[in-house]
Amino acid sequence: MNILLLLGIILIIGLAGGRLFEKIGIPQVVGYIIFGVFMGDSLTHLIPSQLLDNLAPLTYLALAFIGFMVGGELKKLLFKKYGKQFLAILLSEGLLAMAVVTSLVYLWTKNLPLAIILGALCSATAPAATVDVLWEYRSRGPLTTTILAIVALDDGLALILYGFAYAFANVLLSGNPLSLHIMLVQPLFEIFGAIILGGAIGFLLDLASRFIKLKGDRLVISIAAILLASGLAIYFDFSLILTNMAAGLVLANVHPHRNEANFNLIKSFVPPIYIVFFIFVGARLQLGLLPKMGMVGLLYVVGRTAGKWSGAYFGAHLSGAQKAVQKYLGLALFSQAGVAIGLALDIYQHFSRLGPAGTQLGETVINVIAATTLLVQIIGPPSVKLAITKAGEIAKEESPPAFEGEKA
């Protein structure tokens, strides 16, 4: 089958599958992955793994867009009112989840690169499924506000942690003798290199956007900037997703109002690329390997849940957040999707070039993340509902919100 015909079929199946799952209350991304599994080597062989390797640039493109859009959400506005509180909660829940998952996976597998990578990936939280629940129940209050801010920032933290984890795992798997220079300078060079490169391209895109007003031209220049950032990141061996996040972050914060159009245009452009991307992730999933990875997957889910819950509690407690936030925020941070999956695929693409150990690590990460995503995407939304219900933030009736002065 030729590639264009196959891509057309993938888009139609993906769209139908996503909508079908949405109808039964399961996030669309789960539908894409399950239909991907169906089309992949584990079942029908419609999308052979050889083809997935040949279409790697498409995957890079999706990763680049994910990074760019995550960067675009990291706006100063989120820190305006509760900056210190959000930062304390974010670091606490993200780092504690990473520490718990890394420790548990390492104790079980004795595989340090795998443990660090899974630890870094676990801090990401899927905004879409979480926000859907908040909106469905018209939730309002301090917990709702905190959830929104944390899910907006969480993926950014995950990308930064991933930058470190990726560089360390790269060093450990490269087979070079370990030294302080290799363990410290190389990872820092890769991370700051990505940030500087992405930041510079973000500034250039901002400058170009000042003169380019037409929507079509804006879309072209934005995509060109993302492709340039991605190509240069690959050339310098920087993290592609982190580079694009830096570009998005700079663009979103230098002239927020002027550049909003760039993000809205990209947002309307990416859905087909995301569908193909998630179907490819499903197609990469090897059902035969799942029983072998059962324990790692279990440790990942347990460690992530415990780390996020306790981290959110400590962070909220230490920063003086309200009781409802302290008690229930952790419950609302279980969902995982786009960013974690994207990073897993990034790991596979990169580490499979480093020999059998790298390929095995890449396959394990993809299988663990894809399988656990299916699980946490199913338990995530009901947990969010439980959190906002317990916190008393679900709207009781369909009426305009009351203002303080009218309540008395």
């Binding site: 009112k81 859907d132 929104l148 801010a149 002027r258 203002f403």
Partner: protein, 148 residues
């Protein structure tokens, strides 16, 4: 209409001026009191225009839970947590001066899909609005003049 200047369209549509610290409830009362005004002009202590708030944005903030959940997260956050005019205003706005050609104003309105433009003086203070209705009224007068 080609050679006309903005100042020929006097009297302008009067602006509704508010301070950045005005709360949403008061803004809501104000736009209900003046149903024909499309924007609130937010000014600083020197009365310099710092941004605009449209009726549509106030509506979105009041009913923020109906804004689609797949909107960008920072936008949802901004609408959900806004309390004052400062939280809602759009800062990067297009303004014109009285001495500008009317062509420039019309081009900006069409290009940016705007129904009115704030007119500012040399100190950056808003002195009124040039609206699409004012331009259309002038056009119809031109048509009538040509026919007669």
């Amino acid at each position: 209409m080609k050679k006309k200047k903005v100042k020929e369209f006097k009297p302008y549509d009067a602006p509704l001026i508010v301070r950045p610290e005005m709360i949403i409830e008061d803004m809501l009362r104000l736009i209900l009191e003046y149903p024909n005004k499309h924007h609130l002009c937010v000014v600083d202590e020197n009365d310099k225009l710092i941004g605009l708030i449209s009726r549509k944005r106030i509506f979105r903030a009041v009913f923020s839970h109906h804004v689609p959940a797949d909107s960008r997260l920072h936008e949802l956050y901004a609408l959900l947590t806004c309390e004052t005019a400062n939280d809602l205003l759009t800062r990067n706005i297009i303004t014109i001066s009285e001495t500008d050609d009317i062509d420039k104003a019309i081009s900006a309105m069409i290009k940016e899909d705007l129904s009115e433009l704030p007119i500012t003086n040399n100190q950056g203070q808003v002195i009124g609005f040039l609206t699409s209705e004012m331009l259309l009224e002038a056009k119809i007068k031109d048509f009538l003049k040509k026919r007669s």
